[in-house]
Symmetry: C2
Subunit: 189 residues, 2 copies
C-alpha cells in the first residue's frame, strides 16, 4: 500500500511563534534554537528537503557521493537537496525541487516522480523534514556533478548488489547515509 500523502495531508511543523522558540545563535546558514529545555539546529531560507530513490530501466539504483564537512568524510547518499533555497524560487514545489536536484546531481531526467513518504532524519537534533520521491523512466540528458560548489560523484549500482557494494565503500573509509536503506526498502517493495 503506497504511503503517498496528498498536499492537504502534508504535515508542517507548527510555526515557531506558536511554540515560543528562542534563537540562541544566528549563523550564516544555520540557527541554533531553543524550545523549552531543548536545543536544536535549523536551516535558514529553506522550505523543504527532497530525497530521490532513482532506479534506471535496467534496475540500477542511482547514488551520489560527496564530501560532508560535518563528518569529515565522503558520504554515499540518495540524490537529495534543498527546496526554496534559490532566490526567486522560494515557493518551489517539492516535486519540482526533486526533478531539479536529480538533474543537477546526476544528469538524469525522469518520466515519473512520485512521492513515497515524508519523514524526519534526526528529530532530536534538527527540525529537518524530508520528502522521499521515487523517480522512474530515467533518461541521461546532461552532465552530473551538482552545482559548482558541490563535487559529486555518481554511482549506478545494480539493486541486488547495493549492500555488498556499500560494504566495500565503507571499507574504503566512506560513510553511508541511512536514508539510502530506506530507499532500498522502497526500491525493492
Amino acid at each position: 500500500m503506497p504511503d503517498t500523502p496528498d498536499a492537504a495531508q502534508r504535515i508542517t511543523t507548527p510555526p515557531a511563534a506558536q511554540r515560543q522558540v528562542e534563537t540562541l545563535y544566528e549563523g550564516k546558514y544555520l540557527r541554533m534554537m531553543k524550545v523549552g529545555r531543548w536545543e536544536y539546529a535549523t536551516r535558514k531560507k529553506v522550505s523543504g528537503i527532497v530525497g530521490i530513490v532513482a532506479v534506471t530501466d535496467d534496475a540500477k539504483l542511482v547514488l551520489v557521493e560527496q564530501f560532508r564537512a560535518p563528518v569529515g568524510r565522503n558520504v554515499i547518499e540518495l540524490p537529495a537537496g534543498l527546496a526554496g533555497d534559490i532566490a526567486g524560487r522560494e515557493n518551489e514545489k517539492m516535486e519540482t525541487a526533486a526533478r531539479r536536484e536529480l538533474l543537477e546531481e546526476t544528469g538524469y531526467e525522469c518520466r515519473e516522480m512520485v512521492e513515497l513518504v515524508e519523514g524526519v532524519p534526526s528529530a532530536g537534533i534538527c527540525d529537518e523534514v524530508i520528502q522521499l520521491f521515487r523517480a522512474s523512466g530515467l533518461k541521461k540528458v546532461g552532465p552530473c556533478g551538482g552545482e559548482p560548489t558541490e563535487q559529486i560523484t555518481v554511482h549506478e549500482v545494480p539493486l541486488g548488489e547495493v549492500e555488498a557494494w556499500l560494504t566495500n565503500q565503507r571499507k574504503q573509509g566512506k560513510l553511508v547515509d541511512l536514508k539510502l536503506y530506506a530507499g532500498l526498502y522502497f526500491a525493492r517493495r
Copy 2:
C-alpha cells in the same frame, strides 16, 4: 550479505583538531561548529548513537513514539539513544548501550543484539553517526517509557502491517523517522 563491521573497521570522524573546526556557539547540550564555510551542530558528551530494529518472536516490530521538540510533534521511531552520555559510563560499548536503551524505552531484554550497519542520518547539518542493531529473542522484563524526562509510548506492529499503520499515524498528525524504513529493510531482508 550482512554488513557487520568489526570494531577495527569502525569508522570514526577525524578529530576536530585535525580539521580546524571552530566553535561558533556553545549551548548546554549542543554546539554550533564551523569547518571551512560549513556550519553544523554537534552533541556534547556523547560517544555514539544506537538504533534498534527489534522484532518479537511473533514477528512484530517494536516502535516508540515521543514528542520531539525540534519538530513540535510526536514522532514514531525505532528505539534509540545516546551512548556515553551517562557520567561514569563514557566508554560504554555500543552493544551495551543498545541493550540498555531497548530495555529503558520498551521494557524488552533480548537474547541477541547484532550490529547491522553504521551510517549517518543527516550529514549536511550534524555530525551524528548511528549504529543500527537487530535485536531478537525478545523478552518483556520491565516497564517501558524511558527515563523520567522522556515520555515514550511503545507500539508493537506486525511486520506486514507497518506501512499501513504508519500511514494511519501520519493522518493523526504524527511524523515518522526515516530510519524506521531502513529498519523495515533490514527486518524483511
